[in-house]
């Protein structure tokens, strides 16, 4: 009870925050005059419509994590693990935000080398204020851009949690995430979306990989990491002999609805303004989800005799994950096609691939997010359409010559490179991190704890009482 240690740490942390606050203030005051004006009377450059949409989108993307994802995942596990499953996402809303504030945003989005940005440039978010960052989003405060991107950094690791539900030790989970975010997510984020990142197609990268809202950064990185994590953790006791059916499908359906709605913020928000590109990404998102629901449920109807409700919902999520990288680059009919394929491929990934390979990815993170976004990235190589997004045709320069990134076998190869790099990087990285965490903490709860359930054994609570 009496532990001077953590008090001291806490005191230090506070001090450090204070200090950063004041130092930031001091730093700012060098260019004080214009800066103050900018915060006072919104810079002329700030477009309130764009900012309104990006703030709304940021809220929507957080809503995808909670309550969206916690419902979707929470409903799929057994009663005794629902709270721990929800906690896996909830705690990231706190943990990731800290990392993001201290150095994460800077590592991802400040200038640096092709792999990562300078973590010190925006240490404690200094210099991220009312003034827009013209490279990323010229009409909204840089702080808005930072917030929007943070919501992505929160949901991506949260997706992984679905693969390790019902057996991971909570402390190991936290430890893993504290390493995974800076070592895997933030560099990938810089490489694909950061100025001068290796795969950035619009801001001076080398290999132009198209990824509008996070096929590589978000879904493949989390999907592959989930697979590796699930494999290293081992199967749940009793899997696959005992049925492990969703304890509350209703929760998962509510979650699906919220995910679909929130995904509009995710994809259409990635336009970083409220213009017609946002609308176009919104539309692609919607039609892909619709198509994938049909193809998944349709396949089930054909093959199993009945279309399951959870199948339709899983199809929706698959369609959403698949269209994510493509959402700002393709026409509506193309998005619809992508969705149709997504529903079918993910259906087989979940029902056959998993059974054949024999891993226990509890909630099918790899089968839905990983596989889905891989095919989305690849199909985008053919479907990218300069009429939908003219920047495709007039932005990327190779050796000083404009190169169109619209659908072609050439762009398909670029997409393949992006996918392969992400998969290997995330997979190998996760493997190494887990080896370390396993050594230091141990990955898995013991058999008794697993049989009692993680809610009670890890958190001392039961979800449902009298």
């Amino acid at each position: 009870m009496n532990s001077p240690h953590w008090r001291r740490y806490f005191f230090l942390l506070c001090l450090c925050l204070f200090f950063s606050d004041f130092s930031a203030a001091a730093a700012d005051s060098i260019s004080a005059a214009p800066q103050m004006q900018s915060t006072a009377t919104a810079l002329p450059a700030i477009n309130t419509g764009d900012n309104a949409w990006l703030l709304a989108s940021s809220a929507l993307v957080l809503m995808m994590t909670a309550p969206g994802l916690i419902l979707f995942y929470g409903g799929l596990v057994r009663t005794k693990n629902v709270l721990s499953t929800m906690m896996h996402s909830l705690i990231l809303m706190a943990l990731v935000s800290v990392i993001w504030m201290v150095f994460g945003y800077s590592l991802a989005f400040s200038e640096g080398n092709v792999f990562f940005g300078n973590p010190l440039t925006h240490l404690f978010l200094k210099g991220v204020g009312a003034a827009p960052n013209p490279a990323y989003a010229p009409t909204i405060p840089a702080e808005t851009f930072m917030l929007f991107q943070m919501m992505f950094a929160i949901i991506t690791p949260a997706l992984i949690s679905g693969a390790v539900a019902e057996r991971v030790k909570f402390s190991a989970y936290v430890g893993f995430m504290l390493l995974w975010l800076p070592l895997i997510y933030l560099p990938l984020c810089h490489m694909v979306w950061g100025q001068g990142g290796l795969f950035n197609w619009a801001l001076g990268g080398k290999i132009p990989v198209l990824d509008f809202a996070g096929g590589t950064v978000v879904h493949i990185s989390s999907g592959v990491s989930a697979l590796v994590f699930a494999a290293m953790l081992g199967k749940r006791a009793g899997f696959p002999r005992e049925p492990m059916v969703p304890h509350n499908v209703v929760l998962s359906l509510i979650g699906t609805g919220l995910l679909w709605v929130g995904w509009f913020g995710f994809n259409a928000g990635s336009a970083l303004n409220a213009g017609s590109l946002a609308t176009s990404a919104f539309a692609a998102t919607h039609f892909s989800a619709a198509a994938a629901a049909l193809s998944w449920a349709g396949l089930e109807w054909k093959l199993k005799g009945k279309p399951s409700v959870l199948g339709a919902a899983a199809g929706m999520v698959a369609g959403l994950a698949t269209i994510t990288p493509a959402s700002g680059f393709v026409s509506i009919p193309a998005a619809f096609c992508i969705g149709l394929v997504a529903g079918m491929v993910c259906y087989f990934a979940v029902s056959k691939l998993k059974a054949i390979c024999g891993y226990d990815d509890s909630l099918d993170v790899f089968g839905v997010h990983g596989v889905g976004s891989i095919i989305g990235m690849l199909m985008l190589g053919f479907f990218a359409n300069a009429e939908v997004n003219p920047a495709l045709a007039n932005t990327f320069k190779a050796n000083g010559v404009l190169v169109s990134l619209a659908g072609s076998s050439h762009q398909f190869i670029n997409q393949c490179i992006g996918v392969a790099f992400t998969a290997v990087f995330a997979g190998v990285g996760t493997f190494i991190i887990l080896k370390i965490v396993d050594k230091v903490i141990g990955l898995r709860v013991d058999q008794e704890e697993e049989s009692v359930g993680l809610d009670l054994s890890q958190h001392g609570e039961s979800a449902y009482n009298e």
């Binding site: 799929l76 049925p243 059916v245 199993k304 399951s308 959870l310 899983a314 979940v350 029902s351």
Partner: protein, 112 residues
């Protein structure tokens, strides 16, 4: 006194209850149970995987009656609960040695 335990199909509960009330059975206790028997379970599908569900939802009715009422009660239950299809359930009878009404301390058949 006898205790009659009947395992029946859930949607038959109202009928059985009404039929028992008609022949003067004034009290009963009901619980939700899961049954395993000749009536085989069904297949459910979740995210592409099929599971066989062995246990089916059933209702257990317990009534304690005077010895004299036993036969009527059993017959009534059987009549009301029968659909003729597999899974209709069973009735079991056993002896009760003592019964007390908590409110009044009445004992024996007066208590049931």
């Amino acid at each position: 006194m006898k205790k009659i335990e009947a395992i029946i199909k859930p949607f038959k509960l109202t009928e059985v209850k009404d039929a028992l009330a008609e022949i003067g059975v004034e009290g009963m206790t009901v619980s939700e149970v899961k049954g395993f028997g000749r009536q085989k379970g069904h297949t459910e599908i979740y995210r592409g995987s099929e599971y066989t569900v062995d246990f089916l939802p059933k209702i257990k009715i317990e009534i304690v009656v005077a010895d004299s009422q036993k036969d009527a009660a059993v017959a009534t239950i059987i009549k009301a609960a029968k659909t003729g299809k597999i899974g209709d359930g069973k009735v079991f009878v056993s002896a009760i040695e003592e019964a007390v009404r908590i409110r009044t301390d009445e004992r024996g058949e007066a208590a049931v």
